[in-house]
Symmetry: C2
Subunit: 153 residues, 2 copies
DNA sequence: TATTGTTATACTCTATAACTATA
DNA sequence: TATAGTTATAGAGTATAACAATA
């Protein structure tokens, strides 16, 4: 799906930057999410597992902030991870309003297995590319984000 | 939501390019889609209207290819556009399997009204930016897409 | 009173596969 | 047999609001 596709940019003579960004994202999104789904995880589930893999546990609030998933959606996603035995909720001792989510052993193992394959899959695209060139591309994405963030205020 | 968020890239030491890409997209997606929804259109609906605005009519197949929306999803989206009086389906004379979708007068007027505002909204982000800098950023995005597309085969 | 998270509502979109009609 | 589009299903996302428990 697209927020803005190439047609739009042509029609409206929008900055070509937006068209290129959109197309780049679509290409990546397809490349990444199809692979993930074949491993049995949705992109959202993988994003949550990724955030949890780096730490012991996270509150739903933090998880929501880090993944960009709204708290309402997060409830359902964590529900399904729990149902599948990959994550669990524990009420925080410090603040008993807060529910800490952490990975089960199975969740951690699943993440590591999937992530390794996924990493290799993504790496394919960048093999043999000049490091300096990647740095330039990164800088472009960073600058684009800054422009958008600045306009968002 | 994110397919891959910054946390993942840190965890896996994925090419930083992907992390920057993801964050840039999220920033843009929020900036663009919130504005669209406030105008009463979903991003998918706007994408379809955009594709149709440039031409007389498109078959569902072509529409699907141009927007990147799968044909299954497209059925529902066109249904809702029809319900809202923005688009209509006509069975093709040449190939009666094919349904041509076109904008109603109201659909065209709605698109033009929304698109103009949306264009202005997006333009805000790029005002005063050096044209040459934008060209460089675009080239980077294009290169990124080529790398992904090449790996997709 | 403010915040955390859940629940509920209603709609939209995605992917996928099975199906119908037509070619 | 292949293609165009629809239908069905399950999962996920949005926005919003109301709510309980806790701070």
């Amino acid at each position: 799906m697209s927020t803005l596709d190439a047609t739009l940019c042509t029609t409206l003579r929008l900055p070509a930057t937006i068209g290129e960004m959109t197309q780049a994202w679509h290409a990546f999104e397809q490349f990444a999410s199809r692979h993930l789904r074949r491993q049995g995880l949705t992109p959202a589930q993988f994003a949550v597992l990724s955030a949890l893999a780096a730490v012991t546990a996270l509150s739903c609030k933090t998880l929501s902030e880090q993944t960009g998933i709204t708290k309402g959606s997060l409830t359902g996603i964590v529900d399904r991870l729990e149902q599948n035995g990959l994550a669990q909720r524990v009420v925080s001792r410090e603040d008993r309003r807060s529910h800490l989510v952490n990975l089960t052993d199975e969740g951690r193992a699943t993440f590591e297995r999937v992530a390794e394959k996924h990493f290799a899959h993504l790496q394919q695209a960048f093999e043999g590319v000049d490091r300096e060139e990647l740095t330039d591309i990164e800088a472009g994405f960073r600058r684009f984000r800054q422009l958008i963030n600045h306009a968002s205020r």
